[in-house]
Symmetry: C2
């Protein structure tokens, strides 16, 4: 049994978004397949989604290390997109088509339990994003997918991408709470570990299909996080909602 006493102090839940709330891989695969069909190009569009996402962490790390100036995720996505389009037969996409495809990240679909679970959690907690996605991406995504956030918080507001401490500390400060009153909800242990080291509470939500079927699960130590949940509804139930 987790020690629930620190749980009673939690006032706000901050959610990682890509993979935790929305299915980026399924959504990008579907949008790319549509564009492929329109251009009579055949390719493995799930591999295209993976290639796009694979460029994300290295590009962000370059920003974190100062090798690139601050760029938001839209700009990083676009850099990566331009670099992978030729390999998938889409070198001919014009500027408007590239921008439209780049904005597929503003239109990602939620996991089946996300909207219902968030709505339950919202009854008793302030619920916010805490994502490296830029503010407009997160705002547009929420509108498109019906995600009922109380507010939108992006690493962009702090000029520091997760797992830089500024992102977690900045979120607690904006919400007017102590970091021990903030719980990070994420499908990625690395994110949760960074938050935990700063004094955040942590909820690990397992998303076995984030990278498609057959992807090995993350290794997580017993009791490493305050809560481990299968879905947002399961998380709500564990929080007695």
């Amino acid at each position: 049994m987790p020690d629930l006493s620190p749980m009673a102090k939690v006032k706000a839940l901050a959610f990682d978004v890509f993979g935790t709330v929305v299915d980026w891989r399924g959504s990008i695969t579907a949008e790319a397949a549509q564009i492929g069909a329109a251009h009579q190009v055949e390719a493995d569009w799930a591999t295209f989604a993976d290639a796009w996402r694979d460029g994300y962490a290295p590009a962000m790390d370059k920003v974190r290390k100062g090798e690139l100036p601050w760029m938001n995720i839209d700009s990083l996505h676009r850099l990566i997109l331009d670099s992978i389009l030729p390999a998938f037969g889409l070198a001919d996409l014009d500027e408007a088509q590239r921008e439209h495809l780049n904005h597929a990240w503003h239109r990602l679909q939620p996991w089946a339990d996300s909207v219902e679970g968030l709505s339950r959690l919202k009854r008793c907690y302030t619920i916010t994003t805490l994502s490296n996605g830029n503010f407009s991406l997160l705002t547009n995504m929420a509108k498109h997918a019906g995600l009922p956030w109380d507010c939108v918080i992006s690493a962009e507001l702090f000029g520091h991408y997760k797992p830089d401490p500024q992102a977690y500390h900045g979120t607690a400060k904006l919400l007017g709470i102590d970091i021990s009153e903030l719980m990070l909800v994420a499908a990625h242990p690395s994110d949760l570990r960074a938050a935990r080291a700063l004094g955040c509470r942590t909820a690990y939500v397992i998303r076995p299909l984030e990278f498609g079927l057959g992807h090995p699960p993350y290794e997580v130590a017993e009791g490493e996080f305050d809560l481990v949940a299968e879905t947002f509804n399961d998380l709500a139930a564990q929080l007695d909602l």
Copy 2:
């Protein structure tokens, strides 16, 4: 007739909050009266609300001019509160009582048309706050009053209070739009004029009871703002919603 063609470009509506969306004077008067009753103190609590609000613009201007370091509105409200409590017979309030009263600004009540009007406007536009109130104040207020913002934007995010240009430009940038695609909705001509000078569209919503009965209306030139509305529902109707 206003020229409606620039209206067609508008993608987001940014709302001033104190006085435009919520009735700060009525709400603060009611909370102060409750505390007065609990402490068996009689006073004119509307005058108390006015005195509290009167300290606001001068305090903010000191921050804008660098005479005070950056302080959020909670901190400015608290400075003013501490200075006026003795004159209203409440010098004895302890720290917890002062903090509770200071947070009355997080619990302001919306005008009767606000929630319905915002819900209508949200169907076709991104709706956000653009307030000098701090981020947590605006987030808590939205949760308390049921204000259906797509996102919360505060001058605190930019370290510049309205009418500094950074607040309006920063809002457009966060939303990923041009400033000409942003409409400021406010009950205060000074705010609207600052936004208009930067290229924002403007909607003046008249709130004749913001300062109580008998307060003279603002002087506004014919055609000075793109739209003039009596309520948010009226604004929605003028925008064909």
